[in-house]
Amino acid sequence: MCRAGRLALLSKVDSSDRIARPMPRIYVSSVIEAPPARVWERLRDFNGLPRWHPRIRDSRIENGEPADRVGCVRDFHLQNGDRLREKLLGLSDYDMFCTYSILESPMPLSDYVATLRLTPVTDGDRTFIEWTAEFDCAPEMAEQLVVGIGQDVFQAGFDALKRQLAS
């Protein structure tokens, strides 16, 4: 078989498998009426979720590592007792973003990677905040997970920040 033919066959096999289906994606954004530096001071602490997110009960960083060390793992509990472990993949004070993945959770998903990003709104010294995630799951679970995480985790976090930081 010629080279081009083999490549075409390979890509056909791939695309008929799981790659054909786009990964579920969550996008939630808001505006916080506080300067970006004040919002970022709270969000950059990878171990700080219990300080601002109402659904998180406690958190610790494994192996006593600093919370801004890329690669560190946070081990935390939700208020309902569920336990999650998440790994810090990227952190930038310059661009004000934080990227992390889920290592363990009770949710029926895999390959979950999320980014929380701040951008200054120069008009009024406010903050544009975006929280995105991509993951894999059984097709019939996708909508429930997208809506559930988007509302209960992301938007609920924004609402808490708005309450806490509104000056």
Binding site: Y27, V28, S29, S30, V31, T119, P120, V121, T122, D123, G124, R126, F128, E130, Q155, F158
Partner: protein
């Protein structure tokens, strides 16, 4: 190299704002500083590489080249080819994002350029205030008018 960044929130759905901004030849319909505009050589205004030639209200003529345009990212960038104002190597980026909390639009507009020494602050202020903030206010009024009509 001065960098100018301005951003705002428009109380309109992102599709409505993008529908206006994606037309590289449409700025004479909404920007108060622009008197008239046309695309050279009859090219469509969403063709990468097209050049808009336009006049400001004061009569000065400018030419700008469309560098990138993305409906997927709701973003475009362009550079200045000719201008009576001493802005050199001017490249600007416009980007929209949905504010899902309230169905509004985040609008980010930034540029970098060179100027004659000593005029950095003055020209950065002119670009940021007159062009970008002036543009924000004009789009707000333009879209509010459209809603009322």
């Amino acid at each position: 190299m001065p960098k100018v960044v301005r951003s705002t929130v428009i109380d309109q759905p992102v599709d409505a704002v993008w529908a206006v901004l994606r037309d590289f030849n449409g700025h004479d319909q909404w920007h108060p500083a622009v008197a008239d505009s046309h695309i050279e050589r009859g090219l469509p205004s969403d063709r990468i590489g097209c050049v808009r030639r336009f006049h400001l209200r004061d009569g000065s003529e400018l030419r700008e080249l469309l560098l990138t345009l993305s409906d997927a990212d709701m973003a475009f960038s362009y550079c200045l080819l000719e201008t009576p104002v001493p802005l050199f190597n001017y490249v600007a980026h416009v980007r929209l994002a949905p504010v899902t909390d309230g169905d509004r639009t985040f609008w980010h507009w930034e540029s970098r350029f060179d100027t004659p020494a000593g005029r950095e602050r003055e020209l950065a202020e002119m670009v940021g205030r007159d062009i970008y903030e002036g543009g924000f206010a004009a789009i707000r009024a333009h879209l509010a008018q459209g809603m009322a009509a």
